[in-house]
Symmetry: C2
Subunit: 332 residues, 2 copies
């Protein structure tokens, strides 16, 4: 094989469904690697909601946007197939921000070897952005205490499903908000959540009241949408709201309004937005916090795999429809 | 004088202007004090926006509501006129929650002697709820740093005027939002703010952009209202929003919506509501923090005095019209 495929960003999101019209699919010659470089064959790419932000025209975000004509940014898992770098050997399994490309050349910076026994799915679904985000947001922002009640939106998603399981392992009552009965079943019977709300079909206010009889102490927000106000209304005194994602509002021109702030005074509630790029220096500490939960078998996950590099282009729409079941991956 | 006047709450706020229809003005016989008691002649009562909350039907607030038939709650300043309590002597100047009453009987609990040299106006305008609130909210929630920009709403109000002066003394750029040109003049030329916005007449977005060229790091919110969204839009990365009051929304049936939370993620902003009853244990530390600013002459204030106990009933409306100029007091 002397050629491989890359996908470049051609057009920014315009409110319409994502797809091939926004990208250039290009063939490139497989490069020779120079001193200190490694050549990686990517086997699995991660699709994450954060990518929507990276593609947006906004230059004021927490991580530089992807410029038009650049390889679309993503994290991935792969195998070293050639190495002039003493830190990497052919056959090493590695992770890093490789982008939408079948092969990736690196000087080793930002590429990390994966521990033996961790496969691509676990690496990308747990030990990458989802797990780091869940750990930082839940423990360092949400400050959960045993006996408290946590409500997480996007609860079957890559971050939400981990947040709920971590909180459950620490003795909280955990309620998840999802968008299908299949996901209700998965988070309750598969992951052990104490309850679930289907935001598309349930009476939100009544169901929340039933499932959170003692109110809500930690609200982990991944989605936005109309249920936000209902959860907000049930916040307890000194409650914490962790704002991690607002997928319901990413594509709309005029974002929907949020809750009035009077309740923040009455209940002395803190609402805090966070994003992982602020915390890359804390990754070792976050992994040290997360790993024991995984080792003790307290973290389950499932993946939703798309096939082939080009499937990523339309795959991004799944974040808006919520039709995927599990961490979204592209298998190359 | 063997009789004195008290005012009892008869009816909760109903969205109409405050006034005599909500209260019972009653005459009482001056009591004999028993062992350990003191009799205080109140000379000045403080009117504070928090009183609106104390009168509301809401039982879920941070301080118990005033029940119908009870003396309306307020803090005040007075003089001991009789004492069976070894800690107080006739002639002592004292502060405390005495309520809407000309005379107050106490066992001494919750009544504090006022330092020599501090008159009633300074006691109630600086060393009572306004100064404690400003100190707690600015320093412990807002965490200001020299060189940052702070915007405070209700900037000519009892709390806002102190917040701005404290921040200015610590080297911040301070912009105040007020509701009249007279107040613009007072906070800029009287208090030394770097700029002011008249929310009733200025082009809010343009004026804010002009006055905060480097964005906003600390937003101290006392009022709510349409300017909230504009200040929110200018928050810098890692900005802090201190939610202290929302006077614009206290009387409306349906509070106006707040800002969408996407910006909290993009800028990693924290929005925190607080209320002083959580911090009564910290009052000595707060006073220790505040006092040096006062001693160094960095804190100016002005009072707006109403005359006579019964003037309090309609005086509360001034919080909504903003027509008062300075800390609202009732002189008895």
């Amino acid at each position: 094989m002397s050629q491989f495929t890359q996908i470049l960003l051609k057009q920014r999101p315009d409110g319409k469904p994502f797809g091939a019209h926004m990208f250039d699919v290009v063939k490139k010659d497989l490069p020779e690697i120079s001193a200190d470089q490694v050549l990686i064959k990517q086997t699995h790419m991660s699709l994450d909601p954060a990518m929507i932000g990276w593609m947006s025209p906004d230059t004021n975000s927490y991580i530089p946007r992807v410029e038009l004509g650049e390889v679309m940014r993503s994290s991935g898992f792969g195998e070293v197939v050639a190495s002039n770098n003493p830190n990497f050997a052919v056959g090493d399994k590695v992770m890093g921000m490789m982008g939408w490309t079948e092969y990736f050349v690196s000087n080793g910076k930002g590429i990390n070897k994966v521990q033996a026994g961790v496969n691509a799915e676990m690496a990308l679904a747990v030990f990458a952005l989802p797990g780091l985000t869940a750990t930082q947001g839940l423990f360092n922002v949400g400050k959960p205490k045993a006996g408290e009640t946590l409500v997480v939106t996007g609860a079957a998603g890559s971050v939400g499903s981990l947040v709920g399981q971590l909180a459950k392992a620490d003795g909280l009552r955990v309620i998840g908000v999802v968008g299908s009965d299949e996901k209700v079943d998965w988070i309750v019977n598969g992951l052990g959540f104490d309850g679930a709300i289907n935001y598309k079909t349930d009476d939100l206010e009544a169901k929340l009241a039933e499932l959170t009889p003692d109110g809500v102490d930690v609200f982990f927000e991944n989605t936005g949408g109309p249920i936000q106000q209902h959860i907000y209304n049930r916040m307890n005194i000194h409650g914490r709201i962790v704002v991690c994602g607002m997928i319901a509002d990413y594509k709309v021109g005029e974002p929907s309004p949020g809750p009035n702030w009077i309740n923040l005074i009455k209940k002395r509630v803190t609402v805090q937005g966070f994003a992982m790029p602020d915390h890359y220096g804390e990754v070792p500490a976050l992994l040290a916090k997360l790993t024991p939960y995984v080792m003790q078998g307290k973290i389950k996950f499932r993946t939703h795999e798309l096939a082939g590099l080009e499937s990523a282009m339309e795959g991004l729409n799944l974040f808006f429809t919520g039709e995927h079941k599990g961490k979204l991956l592209v298998k190359l």
